[in-house]
């Protein structure tokens, strides 16, 4: 065990603190579900990229900072941003899911074309996975793509597509080889959302906002080279993406930031004149969550260390999404309780503007349930944890093919 800061680490810490003092007032607010980044957020992202506080380990040729993978550096950046209450930068499906997928299995051309604008927040991606008949059982997707004159021609429907109403691109899982077995007949395509034949219908969620969409495809044509890996590799690629989605959803640094924001909220809020921070019941709830977030953060550092050693994380990685999203919801639930009746004024201001504090927490409180469902529900996660992680026997299958 060695958590000693080298001189370089101490310098980085000092540099970020200086950055926070100078530019902290320019940070957008964290939380509140997904939105297209506004100009304030894009400017903030540009500053972070310049200094390597975002996309630190992404190679320079793809628009990143090109830093070496250093577990402690990543932890210092996250810590300092969390402590200063600053936004850690844009987090969306393109950045946290597609970019690592392209780095892992994309072609050089795909990486050069897509990674830089994606991490700058200029190109927004949506994920074309779930269908009305394929939710938790994702591999039974039925949206078809057939090859015609150098193009894939796509027909079908996707649902629960977050951000599709403002996204520029979609990474799409579709069936190119219907005669092959379920998992072997899928391909992973990159589709511009402006392509004729795509119809996006917003789906208003319980937050009152249109965070999700139904997306209809009618004879949508994309060139055949817009595929990641080969035909029939879609399930493999989709799982690489899901792996990254699941680790993003358990990000402990965001959870730590929530603890600090709630702590701050508790010192400002009074119930009949008594500071909430001095009420033992509510304080104990915060402390309990702080302990769990601390465990989650330590777990994350352990995973980073073991990954750097080339060890297979196994069950330790599989628990992250389930553990992290559940914890996230308990944190927003506490915030909602601290806000109390005064926090019931709910005024989501849509895509264009920043929501007030109470609205942001209430959106998170509901959105967090969406996170527990999306990317493989908690129940699917528990199957994966128990079967792949603990080696317990699989559920008997209803049928071999979907």
């Amino acid at each position: 065990m060695d958590l000693t800061y080298s001189d370089t680490h101490r310098a980085l810490q000092a540099e970020i603190r200086e950055f926070a003092r100078t530019y902290g007032h320019l940070s957008p607010r964290s939380g509140g579900g997904r939105k297209r980044p506004d100009q304030k957020t894009l400017d903030w992202q540009r500053r972070l990229l310049e200094r390597g506080y975002a996309a630190r380990t992404i190679p320079r040729e793809y628009g990143g900072y090109g830093g070496a993978s250093d577990v402690l550096e990543a932890a210092i950046i996250a810590d300092e941003f969390s402590r200063a209450g600053l936004s850690p930068g844009i987090m969306n499906q393109g950045i946290s899911m597609l970019v690592p997928t392209l780095l892992e299995v994309g072609t050089e051309e795909q990486r050069r074309r897509w990674i830089a604008p994606t991490i700058r927040g200029e190109v927004i991606w949506c994920q074309g996975y779930s269908e009305p008949g394929a939710g938790s059982d994702l591999a039974s997707a039925q949206t078809r793509a057939v090859v015609d004159d150098g193009h894939f021609v796509i027909n079908g429907q996707k649902i629960w597509t977050s951000s599709a109403h403002y996204a520029d691109m979609m990474f799409l899982l579709c069936r190119t080889d219907p005669d092959r077995p379920k998992h072997a007949g899928l391909s992973y395509l990159l589709v511009p959302m402006t392509t004729p034949g795509i119809d996006v219908r917003p789906l208003t969620t319980m937050t009152g906002r249109a965070e999700f969409n139904e997306v209809f495809f009618t004879d949508v044509r994309v060139p055949v080279d817009q595929i990641v890996m080969g035909r029939g590799d879609g399930w493999h690629v989709a799982n690489i993406t899901l792996k990254h989605e699941r680790s993003m959803l358990g990000d402990p640094n965001r959870l730590m930031q929530r603890v600090h924001r709630i702590r701050d909220l508790m010192t400002r809020t009074r119930i009949d004149g008594v500071r909430v921070a001095d009420m033992p019941e509510l304080r104990d709830r915060l402390l309990r969550l702080q302990g769990e977030v601390m465990a989650s953060r330590c777990h994350y550092l352990r995973l980073l260390t073991e990954r750097a050693r080339g060890e297979d994380p196994g069950v330790k990685q599989l628990i992250v999404k389930y553990f992290g999203t559940t914890l996230g919801h308990r944190l927003s639930a506490l915030a909602v309780d601290v806000l109390g009746a005064a926090g019931l004024v709910y005024e989501p201001r849509g895509e264009a503007a920043e929501d007030d504090e109470a609205t942001t927490w209430h959106i998170d409180y509901m959105y967090d349930i969406g996170l527990m469902i999306g990317g493989g529900t908690s129940q699917i996660q528990k199957n994966i944890i128990a079967e792949r992680g603990l080696g317990l026997p699989r559920e008997p299958k209803a049928s071999a093919r979907g």
Partner: protein, 364 residues
Amino acid sequence: MEFGPNDAQRLFERLVRKLLADHLPMDALHRLANAGSGFDDRFWSALTELGVAGVLVPERFGGAGLGVFEAALAAEALGYHAAPTPFAAAAVMAPLAILGAGSEAARAAWLPRVATGTARLGVAFETLAGSTANSAVERRGDRLSGCLESVVDLAGATHVLVVLDDGTLAVLPVDGPGVRAACRPSLDRTRPPGQVHLADAPAEILEPGSDPQRLACSVVDAGRTMLAADTLGAAQSMLDRAVAHAGQREQFGRLIGSFQAVKHMCADMVAMLEPCRSLVWYAAHAQDAIPEEARVAACHAKAHLAEVGREVSRMATEVHGGMGFTDELGLHYWFKRIGANRQLLGGPERCRQEAAAAQGWSTA
């Protein structure tokens, strides 16, 4: 930067685990637990030989010269095997107290005997450690009178180290004049709680260090970290057994582990428990190397492991069905050990309250 044990630390852990596996098969555990003394000479000698008793004693005093981190690895292993032996007080809290407080002469007098396992100190707190016991001690010069309950590691102890509220440290032989020390019948058959009555008993008052209160707190913190590590090991052991059982036991013509009701309990247990390992490592490391985080981390580790331990011990027992409720299976030794760890040196609410205070989050 390395989050987790290095090669040398892993080797130490493996050796401790090997020794415990060899010495404590279920029949041996049944035998020792039925005796209920919480101490076995032969077993203690073997642990001592491996350096477990002297894990924190500096090499110049004949110990292994390791840190709280290594001690936590040992504690986790002891919990995994529900080892009926002193450790948290005898091998961790007492030597830390003597290292931090006593004069060099006291260190030279005590620590070599701790390392050889011949001086075994139980540790008793007046009130500092969040106990519900009615402990109260009056000091007159070097004589103590009063009663101390919930003494940790009194089983097999040769001495008891008393931590008074002002941080004063006093050592008394358990068979000395005016001392009546006895272990009580215990829920946790592997580590009985001790009770000490003192009637004008002559004590060796250790020379105070620069900040006795602070030292007393760091002794509590180290003890809490050990109990958290012990619970981690004990809960892991229960989880491993539950998973093994679910993968073997058939009902309704299927392995019960193929039922989601059962496999999801196992998934819940591992999802709760695995991050605890990292938390315990961090808390232990903080005792060695990050003084400003040591108290908060120890309080959180103790409190969180108490909560997770409670859940895992219940669910693992449930997964075993009726067998889990029997004496014969022996699963209850771990259930009770986890239950005892939760209460010793302060329950979770108390620990969290101290974590709040340590961060300036509370006026209390």
